[in-house]
């Protein structure tokens, strides 16, 4: 069976009554099947009006879960969201960005999902809607591990909420892959830095993906950055081995764990410098 609800309410009811697999852009669902036929029960979310659109509210920027990466990349958004928009432009290729959604990226919860670090670095939250109502969770409490999220089987991710608190900051997203584009990340980093009146860092968020089962913030490093001015430092001087010691990368065909840790450290340093340059521009 195939259902194509036009409202979120109808989608929630279908999911509760019929079960079935949710599909948005299909760029994770269909390729995973290779040439096997797709599963019997599919609920297509692409026609649910409530999942569409990006709206700038008083306290938060609301990105509908069904927003495609190309829509996010082209939206006019405050500069603090530059890292998220940069990530949007690195998800696969143009055609993948034209189909794939931010909601699908979060719910699929690949350790290499490019959307997660920028959202962690913006203190973003998500909204889940189920038969028992709506709940909000911070992204860090939603993406729990490799393909593991806090979503209950009867819930639909409806939106991503980005508090406007950090939007005036500078941000950067850097992704390391075996080649420039269309690759699964070896490591990716997102940084948001807010300058204070003294010209030093007043607020910092640093998140690293693909180097642990779920992307992580580097709390110790964030705390140490506050009150500093990174100008003139070399990337490696900004980040110590201890700062990345909490990551737990894997060895796989793309890179060894040791290489990922090394790369994470260098990339975090570069992203700090890039975000700071943006913050002071």
């Amino acid at each position: 069976m195939f259902w194509q609800p036009t409202s979120l309410q109808e989608a929630v009811r279908l999911l509760a009554d019929e079960g079935g697999i949710l599909v948005a852009g299909g760029t994770d669902v269909f390729p995973a099947l290779v040439d096997r036929p797709s599963p019997a029960g599919l609920i297509d979310l692409t026609r649910c009006a409530e999942l569409k659109g990006i709206a700038i509210g008083a306290d938060a920027i609301r990105i509908g879960a069904g927003s495609r990466w190309s829509e996010i990349a082209r939206a006019s958004l405050p500069r603090g969201l530059a890292a998220l928009q940069a990530a949007a432009r690195e998800v696969g290729s143009v055609q993948i960005q034209n189909s794939g959604t931010i909601g699908g990226n979060l719910c699929n919860a690949s350790p290499a999902a490019d959307g997660v670090p920028p959202l962690l670095a913006l203190d973003a939250a998500i909204e889940l809607v189920g038969p028992h109502g709506l709940r909000r969770l911070r992204v860090g409490d939603f993406v729990l591990g490799n393909r593991r999220t806090a979503r209950a089987a009867d819930e639909i991710l409806s939106a991503v909420l980005i508090p406007r608190r950090l939007e005036a900051g500078g941000s950067a997203f850097l992704k390391l892959g075996a080649r420039r584009y269309m690759v699964i990340s070896i490591v990716m980093v997102a940084v948001t830095l807010v300058p204070g009146p003294d010209g030093r860092i007043a607020d910092a968020r640093v998140a690293v993906g693909a180097a642990s089962a779920a992307a992580q913030r580097l709390g110790g490093l964030e705390a140490r950055l506050i009150g500093t001015d990174p100008v003139g430092s070399a990337p490696a001087d900004l980040v110590s081995a201890a700062d990345v010691a909490g990551l737990s990368p894997i060895d796989d065909v793309r890179a060894s764990a040791a290489y990922r840790l090394d790369a994470a450290r260098e990339l975090v340093g570069r992203a700090i410098l890039q975000a700071w340059e943006a913050a002071r521009a």
């Binding site: 195939f2 797709s38 143009v94 189909s99």
Partner: protein, 161 residues
């Protein structure tokens, strides 16, 4: 089975297919437009790129029912009678193909790229935006030349986004 109708290359089409039929299989098997190719089945290679309501997408990542009611353009919809589309003509002129398997997807990607960037299209952008299309004859160089030449000849203003 569901009756799935859409507009393909300006023509209204309709076919009874299983719900789980991918758009690419609908195009190739249900309405016999075999110009759109299947290379990898995992959305990597780009041989199946078509335009759905003006968006370039890989038609193996979408069900036919998801495209119901949409307007779809495939490689067969580009030429006007016997006259090749400028991008097709440029691929021919610049030898932008060897075996030809990736060509329909390359051309659909190129047409979308030129529509969005118009005269501002430069080589770096072409190479970047071709990342979703794989050619195993290693023919990228002439493909890039063909796209740049077609863009110059078409000199369309960049479409508003």
């Amino acid at each position: 089975m569901t009756t799935v109708s859409m507009t393909v290359n300006g023509r209204q089409v309709s076919a009874d297919v299983e719900d789980r039929t991918l758009l690419v299989d609908y195009l190739r098997n249900a309405i016999s437009l075999t110009g759109t190719h299947v290379g990898c089945d995992t959305s990597q290679c780009g041989a199946c790129v078509v335009h759905v309501d003006g968006r370039a997408v890989k038609s193996c990542t979408m069900l036919a029912v998801q495209a119901a009611g949409s307007s779809v353009t495939t490689i067969e919809g580009l030429a006007t009678g016997d006259e090749l589309h400028p991008v097709q003509a440029a691929f021919r002129e610049h030898h932008g193909l060897q075996c030809g398997f990736c060509t329909p997807g390359m051309i659909m990607t190129a047409v979308d790229m030129i529509r969005r960037h118009g005269g501002q299209l430069d080589e770096a952008t072409v190479r970047h935006e071709l990342e979703g299309n794989i050619c195993r004859c290693t023919g990228y160089h002439n493909i890039v030349k063909a796209i740049l030449d077609a863009a110059a000849k078409m000199q369309m203003p960049a479409a508003a986004e």
